[in-house]
């Protein structure tokens, strides 16, 4: 019988080598334990790193866990090195992504009717970046492709899962509050 302490320690090692979010199921299979047990261990570990105020933390993305840096240490990391920052998404990419995130599964036609403009190019770009994916086919004429967001989308935008997205009604408040309280922290591209 392998002790809980050993399993938790192994999970830390496994997350470390894996780099990418480690699926709870995959981790559970290594020890032949059930999913819920493994999930609880990951949550315990997450809690430990947080309460100890560690410089590395564990984040949950779509039933997977991943080591990452503590957000507030960003400044020191940048003093040490200039990490490669990925190019920010364009306004149109963000709009299309917003529609897909909230209306998924959704067809290109529906997206275009909301934005009032064609968006083949934008969708192509998002597919290429692996932020959206085809999730099936609609029932309408021509069986149009349905789009949904990916795990990478959750990772990039810091959502544990798609249900964590705030209600559409709350969004305006969130955006306005953020703009009032820390305009200086958000670099707006004008």
């Amino acid at each position: 019988m392998i002790s809980k302490k050993t399993i938790k320690s192994a999970f830390e090692s496994m997350m470390f080598v894996w780099g990418e979010p480690l699926d709870v199921k995959v981790a559970a299979d290594v020890f032949n334990i059930d999913w819920k047990e493994a999930y609880d261990y990951f949550k315990e570990l997450q809690e430990e790193y947080e309460s100890e105020g560690r410089g590395i933390r564990i984040r949950e993305i779509d039933k997977s866990f991943q080591f990452c840096t503590y957000i507030e240490n960003d400044e020191y990391i940048q003093r040490l090195c200039t990490p490669v920052k990925e190019k920010r998404l364009t306004q149109s990419a963000l709009e299309v992504l917003a529609i897909i995130a909230y209306k998924q599964p959704v067809t290109k036609g529906e997206i275009e009717s909301i934005r009032g403009i064609k968006c083949d190019r934008v969708i192509e770009g998002l597919l290429k970046k692996n932020l959206i994916e085809e999730v099936g086919r609609g029932t309408g004429i021509g069986r149009p492709i349905l789009y949904g967001t990916t795990k990478l989308f959750l990772e990039k935008f810091g959502f544990r899962d798609i249900k964590e997205l705030p209600d559409i009604e709350d969004i305006t408040n969130i955006v306005e509050e953020a703009e009032e309280t820390d305009t200086e922290q958000i670099s707006l591209e004008i």
Binding site: R115, G116, F157
Partner: protein, 252 residues
């Protein structure tokens, strides 16, 4: 004009229209259509003067605006329409603009989230090639699969047995070369000359034709008969020797 500062940064006709409405400090629920249509058209003209290619959708919205504007000019208080409230010609557009604005807000929110998350770093996957070179072979088996395979084997075996039985039964009926030679000798005794074809009267199976021919070859070897064939694939004539009945068949 103020809107010129934004120039070609609009994401689409709705984006431009929302901007114009907000810039003019109008309520989205009570758009002054003629004013907005004018500004919108001015913008589009201006773009075209600058040789900026606008997507066709900008023109479609222009047409929609003009249509709404003309509907607004029609007299609205016609008594025969009393039973239902007359629909505001702007309402469909307003609905669309509100929905669009909602997603524009979400896009703004996502931008914030992207910004925040770009401050968190992860590490790349370690080099795992040392492990991935030799995959673990995992045998995928279940009982049903095992039993099905065995069942197929048992059935096939039964089939083979049946075929085998048939095959040996036919074989038992077949004549050996020795018997055939004796039969031929009896048939040829007392005859001088005979066509090979006459030996095959009543012979149906390929096996028996071959058996007859091979037996004939044996008789030639024993010098009981001679054969003549004048042309290729021509008739084979058998000339029987007198002493055919005294020749001994080897091993018989």
């Amino acid at each position: 004009m103020v809107y010129k500062v934004k120039l070609d940064v609009f994401e689409g006709p709705f984006d431009l229209l929302v901007y114009l409405i907000e810039n003019a400090e109008m309520s989205i629920y009570d758009i002054q259509i003629s004013e907005i249509t004018k500004q919108y058209m001015d913008y589009i003209e201006d773009m075209q003067k600058r040789d900026i290619v606008l997507a066709g959708e900008f023109m479609i919205l222009a047409a929609t605006l003009i249509e709404i504007k003309s509907k607004m000019l029609l007299p609205r208080n016609r008594p025969e329409d009393l039973e239902g409230e007359i629909e505001d010609p702007r309402s469909e557009l307003v609905e669309k603009l509100i929905e669009y604005k909602q997603y524009k807000n979400i896009a703004e929110y996502l931008k914030m989230q992207e910004e925040i998350n770009s401050r968190i770093y992860v590490k790349p996957k370690e080099d795992l090639s040392v492990y991935t070179r030799e995959p673990d072979e995992f045998i995928n088996l279940d009982l049903i699969q095992f039993i099905k395979a065995f069942d197929i084997f048992l059935r096939r075996r039964k089939r083979i047995e049946e075929v085998k039985n048939n095959y040996t039964r036919i074989k038992r009926q077949e004549m050996s070369m020795e018997t055939k030679i004796e039969q031929l000798k009896r048939f040829l005794t007392g005859r001088r000359r005979i066509k090979f074809r006459d030996l095959l009267v009543g012979v149906k199976s390929e096996y028996n034709v071959i058996l007859t021919f091979v037996s004939l070859l044996e008789l030639i070897r024993l010098k009981s008969v001679r054969v003549e064939q004048k042309t290729n694939f021509g008739e084979i004539s058998i000339i029987v020797n007198d002493d055919i009945d005294t020749q001994q068949v080897e091993g018989a």
